[in-house]
Amino acid sequence: MGITFNPEYIVKVFPKLLEALPLTLLIVILSLAFGLLLALLLTAAKLGSSRILRILATWYISFIRGTPPLVQLFLVFYGLPQVLKGIGIDINSWDKVVFAIITFSLNGAAFLSEIMRSAYQAVDRGQQEAAFSVGMTPFQAFRRVMLPQAFAIALPNLGNSAISLLKETSLAFTIGVVDVMGRAQVISIRSNGVNQLELFIAVALLYWALCFIIEKAVALLERAFKKGHKGVAG
């Protein structure tokens, strides 16, 4: 095998990868959204009074954290149709992207719920008592007093989760989703074994740039939400 390296190819192939970027972003955003919703339910279950819900939530989180995302993806992709066929629902015509979004939502929910839980428990209980003392209902106290503070505390970790999620979506091509990584696979097959290294360096640079953007966005959000807050780290 020769040692040929064409850096120009990295620049040339970049626009072709960018064409697939919207799909990657769609998967990330939808998975984050659904994951956050599910995480709220999980956190409520873990902090709530029902013992059985707490146990179920704990086991769910342990399973998600103890198994590789790739295995979870295959379980959803191959398992969900099989299970649903047993009760008479045929989902063979679903777009593969749906399976990816389902998997990453379920996956993200477990990690996000742990982040939410620790952030919520970090807010001073006195805030809640003060809210009650001025006549707010529990829901009002949560929405106006606890939630904004918990959100500010959770923000750095939520940012890390978003970055992890972005990187995880690179696995979606294994079930045939043509996102950035999937596009790279197609280009790889079509190029007959030439310029492979340059191609995947371009892919890496693209993900690196996306992560950088997310980091900056989270930093901006942190500054906006932490106005006036005096903590140890400022």
Binding site: M1, G2, I3, F5, S62, F63, R65, G66, T67, P68, P69, L70, V71, Q72, F74, L75, Y78, G79, Q82, V83, K85, G86, I163, K167, E168, S170, L171, M181, Q196, L197, F200, I201, V203, A204, Y207, W208, C211, F212
Partner: protein, 235 residues
């Protein structure tokens, strides 16, 4: 049928057979990664001129790109490096000699090295600087102080993170099949394709990984308790 239990049980031994390889890759990567991480941290701590910048870029790149993409890059880059080393440095290696395991070990070591360097950096900065001064004051050299006083304390601080890293590596080895390494995931895929029962094989694989993680979680918790014994119980 919805779930073929018989097939699931029959494939389980085949899938379990992949555990040694997954563990081999994980253990090698964590140990080699600790060495790399320590060197990288040293470069950052002492602000070595060129290496400091390189170290920062290295850590940022590894943490900002998916593991799978890194594996692919190593897969195409390593043969080129081996050929270059064979030609330019006259070493008797060529790209044809590289076993698939070499790609996996290289990729996972580079991956864990970056994360571990951050762990080590945090752990070292958690140790009171006074410990270094105390070491100097009784006549120890820098390296001796590190080895006998600082590192044992930093190790206890780092242990939970190292444990998390190790668990991440175990799960990460599920990607090693892309470079043709036979471990748990590849065996699951083979079993699935053999019997056309995909869900059952992957349920088996999931349970295997889950049990591995639980076992090592407990192991690390025990290690943490044991190494933390020197800490006196605060009143």
């Amino acid at each position: 049928m919805v779930f073929d239990m018989e097939f699931a049980l029959k494939s389980l031994p085949k899938i379990i057979a992949g555990i040694p390889m997954s563990l081999l890759i994980s253990v090698f990567a964590i140990l080699a990664g600790l060495v790399i991480g320590f060197l990288v941290t040293l470069c950052r701590m002492y602000k070595v001129p060129v290496l400091n910048r390189l170290a920062i870029i290295y850590v940022s790149f590894i943490r900002g790109t998916p593991l799978l993409v890194q594996i692919y890059v190593i897969y195409y880059a390593l043969p080129m490096v081996a050929d270059w080393a064979g030609m330019k440095l006259g070493l008797p290696i060529s790209s044809a000699d590289l076993p698939p395991l070499a790609f996996a070990l290289t990729a996972f070591t580079i991956y864990s090295g970056a994360y571990l360097s951050e762990t080590i950096r945090a752990a070292l900065s958690a140790v009171d600087p006074g410990q270094m001064e105390a070491g100097y004051s009784v006549g120890l050299t820098t390296w001796q102080t590190f080895r006998r006083i600082v590192i044992p304390q930093a190790f206890v601080v780092a242990l939970p993170s190292i444990g998390n890293n190790f668990l991440g590596l175990i799960k990460g080895t599920s990607l090693a099949f892309t470079v043709m390494v036979i471990e748990v995931m590849s065996n699951a895929k083979i079993a699935a394709a053999d019997g056309y029962r995909y869900m059952e094989s992957y349920v088996d694989a999931a349970i295997v990984y889950w049990l591995l993680c639980i076992v090592f979680e407990r192991l690390f918790a025990w290690l943490e308790k044991r190494s933390g014994r020197y800490r006196s119980k605060s009143a």
